[in-house]
Amino acid sequence: MFNLVGLVPLLPLAAFAAISLGVWRDRRLSTYVALGGIGLAWVIGWGIFFATWGQSGLVEHPFRQTLLSLPTGTSRLELGFQVDPLTGLMLFMVPFLCLLIFIYSRGYMAGDKRYSRYFAYVSLFATGMLGLVVSDNLLFLYVFWEIMGLCSYLLISFWFEKPSAYRAGLKAFLTTRVGDALLFLGLLLLYSRTGTLSFAEIFREESLRHLAEVQAGLPLLGALPLSTLIALLVFGGAVGKSAQFPLHVWLPEAMEGPTPVSALIHAATMVSAGVYLVARMFPLFAAAGPGNAAMNTVAFIGAFTALFAATIAVAQNDIKRVLAFSTISQLGYMMAALGIGGYVAGVFHLITHAFFKALLFLGSGAVILGAHHEQDMLKMGGLKSRMPVTFWTFLAGTLALAGVFPWGGFWSKDDILNEAFHSDLWIIYVVLSLAAFLTAFYMGRQVSLTFLGKPRSHEAEEAKEVPMVMQAPLMVLAVFATVLGLIGVPEDFPILGPILGSNPFHHYIGEMLALTGAHPVALPVNWLVLGISLTLAVGGLAAGWLIYGRKPLAAGQPDPLRARLGPVYTVLENRYYVDEFYQATVIRFSLWLSEVFAAIDSRWVIDPFVNLVGRAGAALAEILSRADSSVLDGAVNGVGKLVRAGGRGLRQVQTGQVQDYLLVLVTTVLLLLAVFLVL
């Protein structure tokens, strides 16, 4: 089974190649090729996942398949694929979600003029993510990472006729590039110090210890263990890809792409890649001991992002934008969990979140399609009766995201909060709890505004349920969002714990911690934490319902929170003016810098210098040309003229008259005779 791991990314890649090389002419065939590629990848992916589920020892000795062996002077750089529990878990999640999203796309993209191209791009996108999770080294990971960056650009600006869409694509690409550059630096640093990029080599005990002991002196920051420095650089990449503060600005704009793409980016691929990267490199983060600078940075940025994005989500009216900020917030959760050492909790949330967030995005896509491309929630309402399947599945996703017992998000979020509660950083716990409340609140608000009450616009009035091809993925995802959390039920949870086995997920993924030398400890169920988290979730949903659902808004009525919160609401609505801040600082600075460089190029230095050289050359050529035509040509012509003049003079002698010659002869003889006689 494991031998087929290389096929997982290659199948969608083959689909991409086939579609872009000719199949695109036939839309129907393109769909089948794309679905076939991802479908086979899904089958193999699940095969590998179930094979890893029961197998122990994969952490210390992961299955590895070397694809390339590049000679690098004295050593060889081995690049290939690997299978271990983390990879297996991602292979459970990624291809399955991709497949569902592909199926859903058939309905959502039907009739689009670039239908085939869409399927080519999403296949390549799936290649990027699948390749990323099966890579056994950072170089491959980086390559697939960049493929995803490219695809996100292509897909976000898929409807490039809209100026906002191509700008959003550009923004996503450039913003994530900032992170990518840091990741690449980390990669280079790691390679220069260890001479290897493969995970198995880096995570060997002695190389980790070596990295943790060597100090890297940095200006301003002082001495840091090398492992921490590299981990921070790697985290920079994750911040860009997983849209953590301060590089979160691209994710809401990514809503400009088709909605299935949003689901793909927000759930199955792209943003998960950042969390996956941190999880994958976790031994490196943890190398310098618990609570080191790298881990704390991850924890604080994650927690801050979780709360920061949740507050923004409260004041957004675009149905997808709310979900976008929700994604940022939930990714912050995962990061925070990893940062405080809650490895299992973080990865658990990554998986459950992927499913319910995909569900929510596909559900919002269904709403948008059903409501004739209306995205403003204030203009929706009353869709519950018009789109029942969408409503009930969306509700399942909402309960999962809010963390209501027993939906998926409850277990993973509670896991994270439990970890945070028991960590040294109590502030993280407080921040995450607040974020949990806000999460429930904005989801309650969203459901109330979208589905409850009466339609507030003509579009919502006429909304229709989406076709079956889109409903089916929603239903499948709703089931998964509801029950998936049960694989991670704590062992000592009453009734459910014993029934569901002794927390199989924890044992499965917890093994990965062996690389850090730690033993996975499943925290006991803390009823205080659990009670608070459940209260916050239900309370948040209730608050959302009380404000928006009990007394439905009338058409054109502003958000009631606007009046109550005043300027705070405006700040939230404008996303803390982070974009404006970047516009005023980073972007303006870049533009200014580029103008300076343009001026250096075209006005001050380069062009004038080039022109000067050109002019000097022309002047020199002019002088040389003059010298040539006057001196050289003069000499040559002079010789010619001289010869000619001489000839003209001499030819006078040749009269042609034979008597003249004779006369000369006689005269000469007489002269010679005279001379002879005289002398």
Binding site: G656, Q657, Q659
Partner: protein, 108 residues
């Protein structure tokens, strides 16, 4: 015959010969008609012949060098006259003239 020889010194012959040569040279240089020039050339040759004979008679009668030379010159003169006249005839046929002023094709 002997008396004449005895009374006429060599110088006289040479003088006549020189005069003859000069007349011929003048003819060659001054005349424009090609035939006249040919005639001048004959005079020059005959002046040379006269010299040969005179010197043979007065100086070196022991052998027959001078006589032989004179005979050869006469033969050559005959040939020369033939060839010269033939050339002149050819020129005349081409140019309808034997005036040397017109024969200047080699003028530079």
């Amino acid at each position: 015959m002997e008396e004449i020889l005895g009374t006429v010194p060599l110088t006289w012959y040479l003088t006549v010969s020189a005069a003859l040569f000069c007349i011929g040279l003048y003819g060659v240089l001054a005349r424009r008609n090609a035939i006249s020039i040919l005639m001048g050339v004959e005079l020059i040759l005959n002046a040379a012949n006269l010299n040969f004979i005179a010197f043979w008679r007065y100086v070196g009668a022991a052998d027959f060098d001078g006589v032989v030379f004179a005979l050869i010159v006469m033969t050559i003169a005959a040939c020369e006259a033939t060839v010269g006249l033939a050339l002149i005839v050819g020129v005349f046929r081409n140019r309808r003239s034997v005036d040397l002023n017109n024969l200047d094709l080699l003028r530079g």
